[in-house]
Amino acid sequence: MEIELNNDDLEFRHEVRDFLKENAAKPGADYSQWRMDYFENAAAKGGWDVPKWPVEFGGPGWSPTQHYIWEQETVTASLPWDMPFGIGMLAPILMNYGSKEQIDRFLPDIRERKVNWCQGYSEPGAGSDLASLKTKAVLSDDGTHYTVTGTKVWTTMAHMADWMFCLTRTDDTGIKQEGITFLLIPMKQDGIEVKPIITLGGAHSVNMVHITDVKVPIENRIGEEGKGWTYAKGLLQHERTGLAGISRSIVALESLKRQAQSVSRGNGTLMDDPAFKSKVAELEIDLLAVEFTELRSLAAAASGDDPGPESSILKLKGTEIQQRIQKLTVEAGGIYSAAWGVPVGHKFARSGMQGYLGGRANTIYGGASEVQKDVIAKNVLGLKRS
């Protein structure tokens, strides 16, 4: 057992730091120009614009340790905004199951951030139980296209998206995981209606998408008809481990401590309050442990093993920790956390409340915590449901 970074890793970290410093936004620079420049320069480094892509598709081919270093270094840098839907979600599916034509057609635009994608999975009746989805896709008699009708919900950024990758039902006679087909659908067309859903924090990021008699050419089907669940499932598992956000939480806890030190209480600060201090300490202890849980999981991946049982707890623990930090931030804000939309009192109070409210979704999306525990009970502990 050893956890020291070797010389190559240290050199890599140095290189990452230099790159991030050189490519940080200059004061007063045009944002979208900077964003484009950033990704171009990252690409020139040899796939740093798509760190997780495999080498054969232009990725950098980093070791798990290098990925870890990248995550640690980028969490405090302000990178240009990026959506995970094309780069992180659709791209791996295209690489694994798409045809040569589909890869050539879609992958370059995804990489260059030219096209925005959204994920059409959840439906009003299919949340945690995603496989019960009902959006219907009917193949035309001549086999040239599908006609799609149905409703998708919680579709993040659908209002900004050019395309949706969508799970549809082509067969409802067998078991529900079979008969699901993976289609790519342009968003800007008649028959697609996007309705905003305003969430607790007052934000509009998710939507309801009504799809009515939309014709989708057969070339837009990924893989075989009826195999969509298999394609999507591997990725869902991947999405879940990616949601733990451990490095981000470590940074968030540090900034919570600074915030609490700026709040006066009696003759000291909130960080002198024994109750508050112990809650921060408890979080710190959990983070010390979960950071190593993540490293164990990375090490297993590095040696080519399947992710071990430790990786299954990352999303659960990670999101629980995120929510506890968010809650403590609201507590630290005290009376000022109640002010809405205006900066009043403690500077961090406004975003603290928004973060807490929005963060309630962390234990719901990507598989609700209750469902995650069912999965662990079944797959890791080998238990049967009564």
Binding site: S128, I198, T199, G266, G334, A338, A339, Y356, R360
Partner: protein, 368 residues
């Protein structure tokens, strides 16, 4: 031993239930909360007409001689309906202070207007450096002949934008954290600078700056004791309101999980969901018991009343957080939307948690 309400109290409760069910569907409530004023003048008049604004005041002052039990009944129903009219600011805070004030002239002068709803009061006691301590006051009141001159900043005063008068705590002497040397002044709202804004639960609050505000010295209504007594009543009232919110949340969750089918069965068939809801129900019942205990002790003037009120606000804060977060969680994505009532109750509970001392603060007070 008897935990039943009197006949009058039952009638009061029924009339409140009727008001809420007739006037407070979610769409109407949202419209009110989003309006510039934040509540309805018509509803406020109705509350005056029904005598609710007169409830806690002595009969000699034109009131109904009610006590904390009556206020509890009102606030619990207001919690169930997420009522936005400024009952708490006016009747519990402002009215509560006047009612106990030794300033007979001001009481005679103002109470009739409060009872008709034409005079509106609020309390501005909080200061940034104080966090939740009532006795940490840096706002100063300097005596100048027949007047006091006030300087300082007050935070998060509820409904101050529509108040005609604001009660402010200020220091006439003593050190920053001394209980002695604190005085309460009733100030015409026109004499104050306020920054008014909405709160996350659809309410209204204000930051108030006092810049050489001259207040006639006969507008002094009391000292720290009065502030502490009022804060204790505030804790009881807010806890009652929270209880109403928690009841709606746990019951809606029980209903929703029976309707929502995933994995070919209602969510409520999953044991983990059942046990969670049993926990929510137990928390609610425990809060109700402690609310009754604290309220009765306050009515009796028991020596333990203050300590029990600290216990109450602590338990309510903890339970509200548990019930609110789990109501959202078990409603899944739907619980995250503005469209469902769940989130609005959750947000009201969050604000209650921060008013008049949070969960940790009251635990420390209880243990002290």
């Amino acid at each position: 031993m008897n935990f039943d309400f009197s006949d009058e109290q039952q009638l009061l409760q029924q009339s409140l239930e009727r008001f809420v069910s007739e006037n407070y569907d979610l769409a109407t409530r949202k419209k009110l909360a989003d309006s510039p004023q934040g509540y309805s003048d018509d509803n406020w008049s109705t509350m005056a007409d029904l005598g609710w604004l007169a409830l806690p005041f002595d009969e000699t002052d034109g009131g109904f001689g009610g006590n904390q039990i009556d206020t509890m009944i009102v606030m619990e129903q207001f919690g169930r309906g997420l009522v936005v009219e400024p009952y708490f600011a006016n009747i519990v805070l402002g009215g509560g202070m006047l009612k106990r004030s030794s300033n007979q002239a001001l009481r005679t002068n103002l109470l009739p207007g409060i009872i008709t709803g034409d005079v509106q009061l609020t309390l501005a006691h909080a200061e940034e450096q104080a966090r939740f301590d009532l006795d940490d006051v840096v706002t100063t009141a300097r005596e100048d002949g027949e007047h006091h001159v006030l300087n300082g900043k007050k935070s998060m005063a509820p409904n101050a934008a529509t108040a005609t008068h604001v009660i402010v705590s200020a220091r006439t002497g003593g050190g920053q954290q001394d209980k002695t040397g604190i005085a309460l002044f009733l100030i015409d709202a026109d004499d104050l600078d306020g920054n008014h804004f909405p709160t996350v639960d659809g309410g209204r609050a204000s930051e108030i700056s006092l810049d050489n505000v001259r207040v006639p010295s006969d507008r002094m209504i009391g000292d720290y004791e009065l502030l502490a007594m009022t804060a204790q009543d505030a804790v009881l009232a807010l806890s009652a309101e929270a209880l109403g919110c928690m009841e709606v949340l746990y019951k809606s969750t029980v209903d929703y999980t029976q309707e929502r089918v995933q994995f070919d069965q209602p969510l409520s068939d999953f044991q983990v969901v059942q046990h969670r809801m049993v926990d929510m129900f137990m928390e609610y019942e425990q809060c109700k018991s402690l609310l009754y205990r604290a309220t009765l002790e306050a009515v009796q003037g028991a020596p333990t009343a203050a300590r029990t009120s600290h216990a109450l606000k602590h338990l309510v804060g903890k339970s509200a957080s548990f019930i609110g977060e789990n109501a959202v969680q078990l409603h899944g994505g739907m619980g995250m939307t503005e469209e469902l009532a769940i989130g609005h109750y959750f947000k009201r509970l969050l604000v209650i948690e921060s008013q008049f001392g949070n969960t940790d603060y009251h635990l420390a007070q209880f243990a002290a």
